[in-house]
């Protein structure tokens, strides 16, 4: 028989109370794991969303309209070019994860409207562009078969307007060249919906503008400082920089806010749990003063009694937090669903990311905090004098 054995048997004496205390600890562990799991999941989902925004920086030739709408307002004119080698230079920068080169070209179509109109074609690199836009999904078909194929991929609205489906033909009127539609994208809610994509080399060849670009999409590494990178880009001659740093900043603010809220709630949960543990153990010590006194009379030192009560707290905390961890893991899908319903904006992907280190860390933390809470009651128990037990017998 050991002191652990006695501690465990003591816990069994008041089963309901021990269970309720354990349940309280389990609840804290569950809340902590769920909160931190949510925090981790939320952050990584938001990061994934940032990734899915594609490139965060668009470098264009100075004065070149970078939005299709602006281009159309300018009557399809005003495109400016920059040499293709700038894309290679940008790719060498340490902050850069990937770059994709783009060439926009417009043609006049006399049969559009009463007095003609412009059609815009965006030449994209079939190897790098799709990776930059991971959120793009095809409704039908896929990307180009060759880097210089006479093929087109249409954004949803472009396809709708042109009534094009995979296999249909498009006519580049000015050049009288037919291209085959190989893919129609699903809606993205961006200007890509109204875009007709052609392979970059095809656009360069058709319009005779080799080795020039109108835009370079730049995807930065997660840790990169966008502002510093922007400043670097401005040092390049004749380029302008359009960044989405505002969006990233907003997302990061949201992540930080979520973290603060999560930590506040976690702190409250921990405080409640600490108070609960302290209260229960202290109550148990008060009830067993006589018995503790007798143990002392039987030869137990103050340290023995302290250890006995502390062990009881430890067993409660370990069992409670393990149970809480199991509940948190098994109900994570349900929590995910509930949180998703509450949040005004929930990023795509799993909101709960409960990892083994998180579980171990939480069980350890809750147990540690429980043990700290158990110090005072254990110390009180250790101070019980044997005489108290005998006196209370006489009362």
């Amino acid at each position: 028989m050991t002191i652990v054995h006695i501690a465990c048997k003591n816990l069994l004496r008041k089963k309901v109370r021990s269970l309720l205390t354990m349940f309280g600890i389990a609840l804290s562990a569950w809340v902590l794991i769920s909160l931190f799991g949510f925090n981790a999941g939320y952050e990584s989902s938001l990061n994934r969303d940032i990734d899915s925004l594609g490139y965060q920086v668009l470098v264009t030739a100075k004065g070149c309209p970078y939005e299709a709408a602006t281009l159309m307002l300018k009557g399809g004119t005003g495109l400016r070019y920059m040499p293709q080698r700038i894309a290679d230079a940008i790719a060498q920068e340490s902050e850069v994860e990937a770059v994709t080169a783009m060439l926009m070209h417009t043609v006049f179509d006399p049969n559009k409207g009463e007095s003609g109109g412009y059609s815009a074609y965006l030449g994209v690199d079939p190897t790098t562009f799709p990776k930059m836009k991971p959120f793009m999904e095809f409704m039908h078909g896929g990307w180009f078969t060759q880097p210089d194929a006479l093929e087109a991929v249409l954004g949803y609205e472009a396809a709708e307007l042109e009534q094009r489906e995979v296999g249909d033909l498009l006519l580049i009127t000015e050049k009288n060249i037919e291209v085959k539609v190989v893919g129609v994208l699903k809606r993205t809610g961006t200007q890509d919906d109204g875009t007709i994509f052609l392979p970059l080399r095809t656009v360069q060849q058709i319009f005779g503008v080799t080795d020039v670009l109108t835009g370079i999409g730049v995807k930065l590494k997660h840790e990169a400082d966008i502002t510093r990178f922007e400043e670097k880009m401005y040092r390049l001659p004749d380029v302008q920089v359009v960044t989405m740093s505002q969006v990233k900043q907003t997302i990061m603010t949201l992540v930080t806010t979520a973290k603060v809220i999560v930590l506040s709630i976690a702190l409250i949960a921990v405080l409640i749990s600490m108070t609960g543990v302290m209260n229960t153990v202290l109550m148990s010590v008060m009830e067993r003063r006589q018995e503790l006194g007798i143990l002392k009379a039987l030869g137990a030192t103050s340290l023995d009694i302290f250890m006995l009560i502390w062990l009881e707290t430890f067993v409660l905390c370990v069992l409670g937090s393990c149970f809480g961890a199991v509940v948190a893991v098994t109900t994570s899908a349900l929590t995910d669903m509930l949180v998703r319903n509450i949040l005004p904006y929930a990023p795509r992907g799993g909101l709960m990311q409960i990892s083994m280190p998180l579980v171990v860390m939480t069980v350890g933390t809750v147990t540690g905090i429980g043990l700290v809470s158990g110090i005072y009651p254990s110390w009180q128990a250790g101070r019980v004098r044997p005489l108290d037990a005998i006196r209370s017998q006489e009362e």
């Binding site: 938001l46 969303d49 899915s52 925004l53 179509d109 006399p110 049969n111 559009k112 409207g113 009463e114 959120f135 409704m139 609205e157 396809a159 709708e160 307007l161 042109e162 009534q163 094009r164 489906e165 249909d168 033909l169 498009l170 006519l171 009127t173 009288n176 037919e178 809606r187 993205t188 809610g189 969006v247 907003t250 997302i251 603010t253 949201l254 806010t257 979520a258 603060v260 809220i261 506040s264 949040l343 005004p344 904006y345 990023p347 795509r348």
Partner: protein, 225 residues
């Protein structure tokens, strides 16, 4: 609460950035690019117009779609000719008096979408014809005045003789006088006639109270209903 409010606001900002990605969008309709200018040009004498939006889905649902397809003699095809397409009808006014309508539909041409607008009088007779959009090697010929003028004076009654699937016209029909100016543009020509017939049927359903229904030879069942 104070901590949650900015979070919700940020959430809404994010929703506006990402949320619309999976939002719902209506199908594309067919509007005049410059209504003020186009109405005056297509309907000389017009002093104003009102815009009415209708869709088959809201007006009668799948049953109406079935009836329209029966009258057209063809089913709505492709992923863009759907029940929820919004149709814009321009009600043309001369002072306070209504004098006609302008309505356009999208059609699938050989190289792209075709937008066919018709100006109609109060009886559903074509007053003017306009290709707002057409991508074709023979755009010039198809958009010529002579081609469009062939439609003037015709109504839905005449187009019931045109089979949109085979492209055959009953010789006795007035519509038979419409000729294709360029044989190579056959696909766009057929698409145009189908668009005109569809345009007129929709207008008969939406505006004229099906006054041309009894001319439809294939629509006996509907008439009985």
């Amino acid at each position: 609460m104070h901590a949650i409010r900015p979070a919700m606001m940020l959430g809404l900002v994010l929703f506006s950035v990402f949320g619309m990605i999976e939002g719902s969008f209506a199908a594309v309709g067919c509007d005049l690019n410059d209504p003020d200018r186009d109405v005056a040009r297509l309907f000389p004498g017009a002093t104003g117009y009102k815009t009415i939006y209708v869709s088959i889905e809201r007006r009668g649902g799948p049953e109406l779609l079935k009836n329209i397809e029966e009258r057209l003699g063809d089913s709505f095809r492709g992923i863009y000719e759907t029940i929820d397409v919004p149709y814009t009808i321009y009600e043309i006014m001369q002072g306070t008096e209504r004098i006609g309508y302008i309505h356009g539909v999208n059609a699938k041409g050989q190289y792209g979408g075709i937008q066919v607008f018709l100006a109609l009088d109060l009886n559903g007779v074509i007053q003017n014809f306009y290709f707002q959009k057409l991508t074709s090697r023979f755009g010039k010929e198809l958009r010529s005045h002579n081609f469009g003028a062939q439609f003037i004076g015709l109504s839905l009654k005449d187009f019931y003789h045109y089979n949109v699937v085979t492209g055959m016209l009953d010789g006795n029909s007035t519509a038979a006088r419409i000729t294709n100016p360029v044989p190579e543009a056959e696909a766009d020509f057929k698409a145009t006639l189908r668009a005109v017939k569809k345009n007129l049927i929709l207008m008969d359903e939406f505006v004229y109270g099906n006054r041309y229904l009894h001319y439809c030879m294939t629509c006996r069942a509907q008439e009985r209903r």
